[in-house]
């Protein structure tokens, strides 16, 4: 990467100033703690005319991060982060390594520069530069043709999370389409389909306690929960450290000794992927047989735990207790039963259950990885059952089980209004490739809501996203479908780089970066703050905001005024802030927000389901019974395989014990990697230096294949193959390999991915209830190349 020469000169000069300016500063030892002592010299550097402006990192992490750009002579010379007072009650919101690398991302020479149109086969990435006018004309004409010929339901706005600002391209595209008769909508996410879909059947809705409550916990169980790499909240790791220092015992259930587990766990239980529910069911067995259940809690708040508390009209033997003890199927789900399945020794399961039953309160923190599996629904449900059996629901320091995620943010700011979608049909997001091939034939059995679909997908907007190719499962199937121009007739992509998805564009548009536009970020975690990112540099070349060109598409279609309401993207932001101020008097003015860079309420201890537990009569759970439905009559009556009335362990279709394991003996999971947010940042050389793309493999699995640390290896199954480097480490369970998700699909002529994109190996088979992605449920073989 070429460093800007101007940049370099500035840095040299600053360094010189620091060396000379600081030379005389000597301070007594007693003054040194807390603040660094040589601050006097900082005035020298500041006198050089550096301006510090609030910007934001607005990618798809649980937190959104506040950054500061140091600007001199129009050049960003440095990035820093929150420097407000750092106190125990209100810890600073410190950005992670990605936010700190914003300058590297910004000056990457691979940046897309001009609008382009495809001139080769789709996916070949042969493009020709065109003008913005031509691009906008072409998009408008294609859209018009598609809506006339196939109806608005033929237009799909792809799941995309690269730009999480309030005035994002996909919100603007939704607004445009709603003015044109609508578009094919979707539900679920790639992050938490099983959790989001299943939790409402059990507790009525999904919620999470704030991480401050960890400091009350006597026991914390990290079940696939690795916030060191998946930033759930800007400070989630910091709160975990404080909880540990306050004396909590920490146990990690994970195939890997993750960064989080390595630092905080007192004990590591390296289970086989896909078997979390078996472990939980066996823990339930110990709690029942050793009389460690909180029966009073179960009797008061839950339904379906035992035979005495079942809904009317259900035959005997369907309670959770009956399943766990084996009354219904003759199989007692003992720790010995689970040891066979999970690979965790029975005594360790028994110990953990006893600890969970006696150390109160205890948090069962379930990350989202365990639910991105075949039957991911069941680990969610079994987790909630455990938390209920120990009375850990609605208690500060307890945890609901059931998966981590967002809680409701109380800062009342909305996004760009998208309007109402006249098309009522929705698909589960994971089935969008099916909606291209057989959309009109899909039914409720495929998870289609308000069906049938009026059309197959014919037009795709893919704005700031890489799900079109990279992040969807089974890339080889996906690209076969996308290459067929008789299926999808037009694909419009906007992005910063030529991503694997951008290669499949018909019209490819260069987007502005978050430092080249103003926008607001709202953390999905629910942490009580929002960030404002100022535009600090002009977009380079012909890069433009998605709203800008979508406004012009709307003009061409004769709905320009309705689309913009006379507002630029910045004026929309001002409008959103005005509306927020009406609802929240503490909300700063637009100018104040711009200057400060964030609006933050003091962090608070928020306990999920606190009101339902405190006042069950006044606040019943919003389920049919008003209780936590450990047995769900709704699910039971679906009478479908894979959808039991109470949580079950159901062996995965591509699990460790299946038939396929003979040919492909290694389970392969795709963890998040701290150097990327999904596939964002894969292109960044600073990130690759810090954390290169590599596959974790245990020393025994490596030795059996003559693989040494750092060797290039091929990973393959029936769906595809990739090349990557082996990281031989004792930190992963033998029999399991881990390829961090998000690397950019880069096929050679043989179709083998050179970069190590796991989705050439993953499957499009959806989970039974949620129709969610089971992208971690795969079997592979590895060989040295």
């Amino acid at each position: 990467m070429k460093t800007n020469e101007h940049d370099r000169t500035l840095v040299d000069r600053r360094l010189f100033l620091r060396l000379s300016g600081a030379a005389g500063a000597g301070l007594a030892a007693g003054e040194l703690l807390g603040r660094w002592p040589l601050a006097g010299a900082a005035g020298v550097a500041a006198a050089g005319g550096t301006k510090i402006v609030a910007v934001a990192c607005n990618h798809n992490c649980g937190g959104r991060c506040h950054l500061k750009a140091h600007i001199k002579d129009g050049v960003i010379t440095r990035i820093s982060t929150d420097d407000s007072p750092d106190t125990a009650g209100r810890p600073q919101l410190r950005a992670c390594l990605k936010g700190r690398a914003m300058r590297s991302r910004l000056r990457n020479p691979a940046r897309l520069r001009y609008p382009m149109k495809r001139v080769g086969e789709r996916g070949e990435a042969k493009f020709q530069r065109i003008s913005w006018d031509e691009a906008i004309d072409s998009i408008a004409a294609n859209l018009k043709r598609m809506v006339e010929r196939h109806g608005p339901a033929s237009v799909y706005i792809q799941y995309a999370t690269g730009d999480c600002g309030l005035i994002s391209g996909h919100a603007a595209a939704q607004r445009l389409m709603n003015l044109m008769g609508g578009y094919l909508a979707r539900y679920n996410s790639y992050s938490s389909a099983c959790l989001s879909y299943t939790a409402p059947f059990v507790t009525g809705y999904r919620d999470t306690s704030s991480y401050q409550t960890l400091e009350h916990s006597k026991l914390i169980i990290l079940n696939g929960f690795n916030p060191a790499e998946t930033i759930f909240e800007t400070n989630s790791n910091y709160y975990l450290a404080r909880a540990k220092e306050a004396g909590a015992r920490v146990v990690a259930i994970d195939p890997r000794l993750t960064e989080t587990a390595a630092t905080f766990a007192d004990e590591w239980l390296p289970l086989k992927p896909t078997t979390d529910a078996a472990l939980f069911v066996a823990m339930a067995h110990v709690l029942i047989t050793e009389n460690l259940c909180n029966r009073e809690f179960l009797d008061t708040y839950c339904i379906g735990f035992d035979e005495e508390h079942m809904p009317a009209g259900v035959p005997a033997g369907q309670s959770y207790e009956s399943y766990v003890l084996g009354r219904s199927d003759g199989v007692a789900k003992t720790p010995e039963w689970a040891a066979e399945i999970t690979g965790i020794e029975a005594h360790a399961i028994r110990n953990l259950a006893r600890e969970y039953g006696t150390l109160h309160p205890a948090q069962l923190l379930q990350g989202l990885g365990p639910q991105r599996h075949a039957h991911g629904e069941e680990s969610v449900r079994a987790g909630i059952a455990l938390a209920s059996m120990t009375g850990n629901l609605g208690v500060a320091g307890g945890g609901w089980g059931g998966g981590e995620g967002g809680r409701r943010i109380e800062i009342p700011i909305g996004g760009l209004p998208t309007g109402d979608n006249p098309v009522k049909a929705k698909i589960p997001v994971f089935l969008w490739t099916d909606a291209i091939v057989r959309g009109t034939e899909m039914t409720a059995a495929d998870g289609v809501q308000n069906g049938p679909l009026a059309s197959n997908i014919k037009f795709i907007f893919n704005l700031a996203g890489n799900t079109l190719v990279n992040q969807h499962a089974d890339i080889n199937r996906t690209v076969r479908i996308l290459r067929d121009e008789a299926l999808v007739e037009c694909i419009v992509v906007s992005d910063h780089f030529l991503t694997p998805s951008a290669r499949f564009a018909d019209i490819l548009l260069p987007a502005d970066n978050s430092l080249e536009r103003s926008d607001i970020g709202v953390p999905w975690s629910g942490e009580r703050y929002i960030v404002f990112g100022n535009k600090v540099v002009e977009p380079p070349y012909e890069c433009r905001h998605d709203y800008w060109w979508l406004s012009r598409v709307a003009e061409r279609l004769g709905i320009g005024e309705a689309f913009t309401e006379g507002r630029t993207e910045e004026q929309w932001l001002e409008q959103l802030v005005r509306e927020a101020r009406r609802k929240d008097p503490g909300f700063p003015s637009y100018d104040e927000l711009r200057e400060r860079g964030f609006y933050r309420k003091d962090p608070e201890e928020y306990v999920a389901f606190e009101k339902e537990i405190r006042d069950p009569a006044g606040h019943p759970f919003p389920t049919p019974s008003g209780k936590v439905e450990i047995f769900s009559k709704t699910l039971y009556e679906m009478n479908q395989p894979g959808i039991p009335g109470v949580p079950h362990y159901i062996p995965a279709w591509e699990g460790p014990a299946g038939e396929l394991a003979g040919r492909y003996p290694l389970q392969c999971i795709g963890p998040h990697y701290k150097r990327r947010t999904h596939s964002t940042w894969d292109e960044d050389p600073w990130m690759e230096e810090a954390d290169p793309q590599q596959m974790w493999i245990s020393p025994s699995d490596a030795a059996a294949r003559s693989i040494a640390h750092g060797d290039r290896v091929k990973v393959f199954n029936d769906r595809g193959a990739l090349l990557t480097r082996a990281r031989v480490t004792k930190r992963i369970r033998p029999g399991v390999v881990a390829i961090p998700q998000g690397a950019w699909y880069t096929p050679g002529k043989d179709g083998v991915c050179r970069r190590g994109c796991i989705n050439v190996l993953t499957s499009q088979k959806a989970t039974p209830l949620a129709h969610g992605n089971a992208q971690h449920t795969i079997l592979v073989e590895v060989k040295k190349v």
């Binding site: 990467m1 460093t3 940049d7 370099r8 840095v11 040299d12 360094l15 010189f16 620091r18 060396l19 300016g21 600081a22 007594a28 030892a29 040194l32 703690l33 660094w36 040589l38 601050a39 010299a41 900082a42 020298v44 550097a45 010379t77 440095r78 990035i79 820093s80 982060t81 420097d83 750092d86 410190r94 950005a95 992670c96 390594l97 990605k98 700190r100 690398a101 300058r103 060191a228 800007t234 400070n235 790791n237 910091y238 450290a241 540990k244 000794l257 960064e259 390595a262 630092t263 590591w268 701290k674 690759e688 230096e689 810090a690 954390d691 480490t729 004792k730 930190r731 369970r733 033998p734």
Partner: protein, 183 residues
């Protein structure tokens, strides 16, 4: 070499460090360091046998040693150790790019860049309000202060099983780290 009047040192709390590498990238951004030049770096170590495996991380730049090999070995006089606080300062203006220091330092602190033809290393962000790594760490796991105070903290240790013996250069750094990592 004369002892510093009040040596300053790093306190690195590995019981908090999650290997997030924010310090490393913040430092890189501050120095505008090209790829290949890692003025601060987080190293990760592992030990034990499955499943009783442990791992820990050490964030490190220059340790501003009491007996700095770089100062002693630099033929260009680019290195100096300040008497008042013991900070080992490298002046890139004097550096001739011979790279002796990169071979002498047991910690890999001096980082050579072929395009620039010079070494750079951590000068403890002299002139900044506080070192960038300290302000950046999301875990508040890096601190600087008087070494005498830091060394007296509960659990502070200097010798780790995976790092060079501190007897070589007497580094001005102390760690808090799980006991398995002690040497």
């Amino acid at each position: 070499m004369a002892a510093a009047r009040a040596q300053i040192g790093f306190f690195v709390d590995a019981t908090r460090c999650i290997n997030c590498k924010t310090c490393e990238i913040a430092c890189k951004d501050f120095h505008d360091a090209a790829v290949g030049r890692r003025i601060r770096k987080v190293r990760s170590f592992e030990g034990g046998e499955f499943p009783a495996v442990f791992a820990y991380n050490v964030s490190m730049s220059c340790n501003h040693c009491a007996e700095p090999a770089c100062v002693q070995g630099c033929p260009a006089g680019a290195y100096s150790k300040r008497f008042e606080d013991g900070i080992v300062v490298h002046d890139p203006e004097k550096c001739i790019g011979c790279r002796y220091c990169t071979w002498l330092c047991p910690y890999g602190a001096p980082q050579y860049d072929a395009r620039e033809g010079r070494v750079r290393k951590c000068n403890l962000c002299l002139g900044e309000a506080e070192p960038v790594c300290v302000a950046a760490c999301p875990m508040r796991a890096i601190e600087v202060g008087p070494l005498a105070e830091i060394a007296a903290r509960p659990g502070a240790t200097i010798a780790l099983r995976d790092l060079p013996s501190p007897a070589l250069t007497r580094p001005s750094i102390r760690y808090r780290v799980r006991k398995e990592a002690h040497s």
